[in-house]
């Protein structure tokens, strides 16, 4: 069982990385890029008792991980997706 956690900066929070990437893409001639935001995609491989649980419970556990560690909820949002 795999889970993916997508962590992205909240709207309105400055994204220096995205800004710099945007700038560099323009320098490379990709003029039609209007905005860039960089986020993280964290892929978790789950096993054991947790992997055997119903989807809703797995999702809740992964959300808990995101809240506690994977995302900095002061400035970041996250979303969880279960795969396979």
């Amino acid at each position: 069982m795999k889970a993916r956690v997508h962590v992205s900066l909240k709207n309105g929070v400055l994204d220096p990385q995205g800004k710099a990437i945007n700038h560099a893409l323009h320098g490379l001639g990709f003029a039609d890029v209007a905005d860039v935001r960089q986020g993280k995609l964290i892929e978790l491989e789950l096993t054991g008792a947790l992997a055997a649980k119903p989807k809703a419970e797995i999702e809740a556990a992964v959300k808990d991980m995101a809240q506690k560690l994977l995302a900095n909820t002061v400035i970041e949002n996250f979303s969880v997706e279960l795969v396979g």
């Binding site: 929070v13 400055l14 710099a20 900095n72 002061v74 400035i75």
Partner: protein, 562 residues
């Protein structure tokens, strides 16, 4: 919005009408404790700030001292306590960014960073996360901008569990004939905005820094500012390049309360008025309002008054460094701040009552009662065991794991790395000489006896500087205290100032800059009173520098002092 009833009545009297929302927002940040020093001003005025080598004392962005041969050292310490508790990485990082701007805005190349950190008890649930975030943030910003972080101090105490202290200090070098000040001058001169674009970051940060923490402060989260050290590095280079041309009348960074405090302070110091067209302010987001433009605390921005006609030359430099540049207004002789947006006037305020003549309080205070003597202490442990325990304790253990995360060598002038009594940084361009610097304070002493504790903090920096062979010259301070509306806290503040004053007078060691952070409390419990002191001294011959390592077997060990 953080104004008291009496303050609001004063607003009505000054305005002669109800202020609109933008105007009220501006009053509220300008009169916040953070910007106005309303509780502390009376006492800060008693500190000694003069000496033949002081070029500029408190009141400017940073203090300036003459270090001989045409060079000046420019330095200051500043707190970023509340933001660092809410988001330790970004809070500490933007703290470093802010103090760097205070120093390079005066024309100095920043050559060293220092810090003074206080955390809660090591076993408190939040401490580990906070320590790690703050250390990463200081390194993340300082390493990237290329300024070595050369010294600091770290203490742990439960009183900081809900209110850590992150004080950052920068030391810069300038030529004495190339120092820049912030007083606006020249009717009609252009007011120029440079650096990053303005977003909705940190709106009301300055008022937050002046409010006590409660459990629901975490709700204030979206106001967190994110630092961009890359842009700061470009801003340093661009500003220093501009300073080499003859185009600047006045310059100031946009720190707490952003465009508001920088424009009001510059106008007030120069006795000028300003008209600002807020539509011209570079915006990061769409639909920003005048209120948001005036109160945003977006980082990495500066305000400059240019000589007329020099705009193209200045703009070329900022374009080269890929930074925003915008003429957003001009100086007037009305003594008023006029704000325009979309062709309409959205604010019109007198400058002085908000800046130089802001309210000042003589808050009631009580003297801290003397502590009972500790009495005789029996040694509970054999000496060797006790020594081991002391050396291993959180307050005394090695800080190597912290300072190895800071680039303390960049620029190639660090003659004494962290781990000694004070850092020693050679003066570029005059390489026989070096600056020595240190930060010190022992909060539990100040708690037990504010006067003696204040003296001790100053004296400790003095000792650390002399221990490396330097002649101490001047200090900066960062006064971190609890809620000044409580007489016993105000008493700690008054006592500490008194102690600092006495020590500075006795040592001929003036205060040239500083910062006050009050309301460091959580749910009514204050921190240990923490007047952090940053000391700077000079070595005339860096090869005569002393280090603390024992050098050779068989050499005598002397104990001096009493």
């Amino acid at each position: 919005m953080g104004l008291s009833k009496a303050e609001y009545d004063l607003v009505l009297e000054i305005m002669g009408r109800e202020p609109n929302q933008v105007e009220l927002g501006i009053f509220s940040v300008m009169w916040s404790e953070h910007c106005s020093y309303k509780s502390s001003k009376k006492w800060l005025k008693t500190l000694p700030t003069k000496a033949p080598w002081v070029i500029c004392g408190p009141g400017e962005n940073a203090g300036v001292i003459d270090i001989g041969d045409g060079y000046a050292a420019i330095f200051k310490m500043e707190s970023h306590n509340h933001p660092s508790f809410i988001e330790p990485y970004q809070g500490a990082a933007t703290g470093v960014g802010g103090i760097l701007r205070d120093v390079f805005t005066m024309g100095a190349r920043p050559v060293a960073n220092l810090n003074a950190l206080r955390f809660g008890s090591p076993d408190h649930a939040k401490t580990r996360h906070l320590v790690s975030g703050v250390v990463h943030g200081i390194g993340g910003y300082g390493n990237s901008v290329g300024v070595p972080t050369v010294a600091g101090e770290v203490n742990f105490h439960p009183s900081y569990n809900g209110n850590i202290l992150v004080n950052a200090m920068t030391v810069g070098l300038a030529k004495t004939d190339k120092i820049f000040y912030s007083a606006a001058a020249g009717l009609g001169n252009p007011v120029v905005y440079v650096g990053s674009k303005t977003g909705r970051d940190g709106i009301h940060g300055a008022t937050m820094a002046s409010a006590e923490f409660t459990e629901d402060s975490e709700e204030k989260r979206p106001t967190v500012q994110v630092g961009d050290p890359f842009t700061e590095k470009l801003l340093i280079e661009a500003c220093l390049e501009l300073m080499n041309t003859d185009t600047i009348v006045a310059i100031q960074d946009m720190g707490a309360a952003g465009l508001t405090s920088s424009s009001f302070e510059m106008a007030s110091k120069g006795g000028m008025g300003i008209v600002i067209d807020l539509d011209k302010v570079p915006a990061r987001e769409t639909g920003m309002t005048p209120f948001e433009f005036m109160l945003s605390e977006s980082q990495e921005r500066m305000l400059i008054i240019l000589k007329p006609g020099s705009e193209p030359q200045a703009e070329a430099i900022f374009k080269k460094w890929e930074l925003d540049f915008a003429v957003i207004g001009h100086l007037t002789d009305t003594g008023r701040m006029v704000l325009r947006f979309n062709g309409e006037q959205v604010g019109d305020l007198p400058i002085d009552p908000l800046a130089a003549a802001s309210p000042e309080y003589d808050r009631p205070w009580v003297k801290t009662p003397p502590q009972k003597p500790l009495g005789r202490v029996n040694h509970p442990l054999p000496f060797v065991e006790a020594l081991g325990k002391l050396i291993g304790s959180p307050d005394l253990s090695s800080r190597r794991w912290i300072w190895e995360q800071y680039d303390h060598l960049i620029r190639g002038n660090t003659a004494q790395v962290p781990g000694g009594d004070a850092a020693v940084v050679r003066i570029e361009g005059n390489e026989k000489k070096a600056l020595a610097m240190t930060t010190d304070c022992t909060p539990r002493y100040v708690f037990a006896d504010p006067v003696e504790g204040g003296k001790q903090a100053v004296a400790e920096t003095w000792r650390n500087l002399t221990a490396v062979g330097a002649r101490p010259l001047a200090i900066t301070d960062n006064m971190n205290f609890g809620n000044p509306e409580r007489p016993e806290i105000m008493g700690q503040f008054v006592g500490a100032v008194e102690g600092i004053r006495e020590a500075c007078l006795a040592l001929d060691y003036p205060v040239v800059s500083g910062n006050v952070s009050l309301y460091n409390e959580t749910n009514g419990k204050g921190i240990l009173p923490t007047p952090a002191i940053g000391g700077v001294g000079i070595l005339d011959d860096v090869t005569k520098m002393a280090t603390l390592a024992f050098k050779l077997p068989g050499e005598a060990i002397l104990l001096v002092g009493k």
